[in-house]
């Protein structure tokens, strides 16, 4: 072998060795960059919360992970990393929710967490989120008290009672409504909304002719509805959950109670509502709602993707909020990476473009999107108030 060649091969060897050392130095970093982003949550798959959780929340998490992974992964400050969802059933049990989030944030140390279903569970994890420093963008929590806790890591996407009920009262006022009857479920949700209504009707010229609360497990509302029918109010307002929303609607029909404006709360915006009441039967029924496919091009794309991937329609209220939360989270991670403090600051200090429009937070409260009223019209839950966000004109409710 010629000396030159020896020299050559030696050089190759050194080069190779340098490459190996170099690779060994950077490999862990490269590996870390390719490691999946672990995102944990619990969701009700059994127990009383299942219906709502599987309509408004979990399908969105699954769709989001699917979409991001199909695009090569979640964009973490320019690097695509796959999403790995770490999830379990919480059996609709607050204690289990607490226990599991402690595990996710304390022992498993997942990169990010997504919120559980419902106000009660969110109340329980909100202080935890703060202690461990995990930003929470909750789509299905609704309470002024939660806002009053002033937890820096907690953000509520749904509009709170004051703005939601303010919109309803404005709408009723604009229609010349003089009398209204209200029923509300006797828990935090019902009471807070009822309190907001009492506040909103002051000086509006609307008189409440009947105010009745009922226990959440109620099986029969017809006596109350009959009493209300006798007083013949222009509008009916129910602060209710899906089972009682449907119960009240069915029984109003049975007793022949036909006010010009019929408003109920959770469940009206669910596809389930038209399934049970039929499209014709739901015509003109109003409820809490905030979006549909006409709200924005993004909303249409989201709706179609949801139907294609999850084989069911999203609801027209909290589903949109859940998706908007995921959009905000995606953008935050894209801009600041997985540093959770930085994500929190990004969420708190920016105005976010989402399918629902501009969202921004004052403390924990979403003050970007206004309170809205929705109404079933020919099988679509149209936004009818405020006029600036309306996707259709308000109609007077035909008889049941």
């Amino acid at each position: 072998m010629a000396p030159a060649q020896v020299q050559q091969s030696k050089r190759t060897l050194i080069k190779g060795a340098a490459a190996v050392v170099g690779a060994a130095t950077f490999a862990p970093q490269l590996m870390a960059q390719n490691a999946p982003v672990r995102i944990g949550y619990t969701m009700a798959r059994t127990g009383p919360w299942t219906g709502g959780a599987q309509t408004s929340q979990e399908p969105n998490y699954l769709l989001w992970a699917e979409q991001q992974n199909a695009a090569g992964g979640l964009d973490v400050k320019g690097t695509r990393r796959k999403i790995e969802l770490v999830s379990s059933d919480d059996q609709s049990n607050v204690e289990t929710v607490v226990r599991t989030y402690e595990k996710l944030m304390g022992s498993d140390k997942v990169d990010l967490v997504l919120p559980p279903w419902g106000s009660g569970a969110n109340f329980a994890v909100a202080p935890l989120a703060n202690r461990y420093g995990y930003p929470f963008l909750a789509p299905t929590a609704l309470s002024k008290k939660l806002v009053d806790l002033k937890l820096p890591y907690f953000f509520l996407l749904l509009q709170q009672p004051a703005s939601m009920i303010g919109a309803l009262v404005d709408l009723l006022k604009s229609q010349g409504v003089k009398t209204a009857a209200v029923i509300y479920v006797d828990d935090l949700f019902g009471l807070e909304n009822y309190a907001a209504l009492k506040e909103a009707v002051k000086g509006s010229g609307i008189r409440l002719v009947e105010e009745k609360s009922y226990p959440g497990s109620t099986q029969d509302l017809s006596p109350v509805l009959r009493a209300i029918k006798d007083k013949n109010p222009d509008a009916f307002i129910g602060f209710s959950y899906p089972p009682d929303t449907i119960l009240a609607s069915k029984q109003s029909k049975e007793v022949g109670f036909n006010p010009k404006f019929y408003y109920a709360s959770v469940g009206t915006a669910f596809p389930l509502y038209t399934k049970v009441m039929t499209v014709a039967g739901a015509e003109g029924v109003m409820g809490m709602g905030s979006w549909n496919t006409k709200t924005s091009p993004g909303a249409k794309a989201y709706f179609d993707a949801h139907v294609a991937s999850q084989k069911k329609e999203p609801d027209r209220w909290a589903s949109g909020a859940a998706w908007a939360g995921l959009e905000i989270l995606t953008n935050a991670v894209k801009s600041v990476g997985l540093d959770r403090k930085a994500i929190r600051d990004f969420v708190a200090n920016n105005t976010h473009q989402t399918i629902l429009g501009e969202i921004k937070f004052n403390g924990s409260e979403n003050v970007g999107t206004p309170g809205t009223v929705g109404q079933w019209q020919k099988g679509e839950f149209e936004v009818v108030w405020p006029p600036a966000r309306a996707t259709a004109k308000l109609i007077t409710k035909p008889k049941w």
């Binding site: 379990s88 059996q91 204690e95 595990k103 329980a124 909100a126 009471l191 609360s213």
Partner: protein, 345 residues
């Protein structure tokens, strides 16, 4: 076979309890947060089911009021935590539960069987709606937020202490006249009365003792929720689960409820993560199997029980084999033939 004297059994039980306590004390130090929080649930059910078994096991009064007392404790803690010290709050929780139990006991403890069970369940509902009504009309809102809560370690130690106390009380009460009176009521209430036991007093006292533990546990566990509303804390499932655990573990035994509480918690947790839908089904199945094949509960399992099952199984298989091979049929035919032949003899 070794026969232990009562004193030796007492020492054995206390030693076992000491060992369990030491283990539970050491757990948070080496186990992950998740395991310790699971242990907390486990300890909660140990306290609930041991104290439940103490009264309901020996007197055979099936009480479904556990969730009522638990909820009372929880609500007390939600209302008073800001104003009193932690231990005071727990004591007050237990105290209020005892008062309610005495009232409730005086009203319904003369009823037996189904009536008693249904009434205690109804009482829970009554208290739930009473609390809701009180909150609505007095404070104007339902649900309370607990912001000032003690450290996790404090909660763990408190529930551990309650669990140990519940088992210790069970150990001791069994050896007192009071415990014997409870057992006598379970065996034959009228005879006990004839023999001079003040059954009414004993029953109310026993019921109140159970309630004290449930109330204290409720007060201690409430802080895990942050937000308390009547429907969460007066959750009937807590009462049902306590009954199930005690029945499956063995109502009359000392260690059955403790054992079953541990098994349950581990089972519930692993099933929840793997097969969420199966948990309740397996619970039901376990109960049915227990009632059919192990009426004394898990704690009554002995080597002889397994041997008994094994013999039964073999017997059954042998029988099945004979049946399938046609041997049984042939035997029957032969017997018939013999009978016919004998007839003519």
């Amino acid at each position: 076979m070794l026969v232990m004297t009562s004193r030796q059994i007492l020492i054995r039980d206390l030693l076992v309890l000491l060992a369990f306590t030491g283990w539970a004390l050491a757990l948070p130090a080496y186990a992950s947060e998740f395991v310790s929080s699971m242990a907390l649930t486990c300890l909660m059910y140990v306290a609930l089911s041991s104290s439940w078994g103490l009264f309901c096991g020996s007197t055979r009064y099936l009480s479904l009021a556990t969730s009522a007392f638990f909820g009372i404790g929880a609500y007390t803690s939600a209302m008073l935590l800001g104003e009193f010290a932690w231990l005071t709050v727990i004591l007050i929780g237990a105290g209020i539960a005892v008062m309610v139990a005495i009232l409730m006991g005086a009203a319904v403890l003369h009823l037996r069987g189904t009536y008693f069970a249904v009434l205690t369940f109804g009482m829970t509902e009554l208290i739930l709606h009473a609390v809701t009504y009180f909150e609505k009309s007095v404070t104007g809102t339902v649900g309370r937020v607990l912001m000032v809560v003690p450290e996790r370690e404090t909660i763990y130690l408190t529930v551990l202490a309650l669990a140990v106390l519940a088992v210790a009380v069970s150990i001791v009460v069994r050896r007192t006249r009071f415990g014997l009176a409870l057992l006598a009521i379970g065996a034959d209430e009228q005879r006990a009365q004839t023999l001079g036991v003040n059954t009414r007093l004993v029953k109310v006292a026993g019921f109140a003792l159970t309630a004290a533990f449930a109330g204290a546990v409720g007060a201690a566990m409430a802080v895990r929720w942050t937000y308390i509303d009547p429907h969460t804390v007066f959750n009937p499932f807590i009462g049902f689960q306590t009954v199930l655990i005690t029945l499956i573990g063995g109502v009359l035994t000392l260690w059955g409820p403790l054992l079953a509480a541990i098994i349950f918690s581990v089972l519930a947790e692993s099933l929840r993560l793997q097969f969420p839908q199966i948990y309740l089904m397996s619970l039901g199945l376990l109960l049915i199997l227990c009632v059919l094949y192990l009426p004394g509960g898990l704690a009554s399992l002995r080597w002889a029980t397994f041997k008994g099952w094994w013999t039964d199984c073999r017997e059954w298989v042998r029988d099945l084999k004979r049946d399938l091979s046609g041997e049984k049929e042939r035997e029957k035919q032969r017997a018939l033939k013999r009978a016919r032949e004998n007839y003519f003899v």
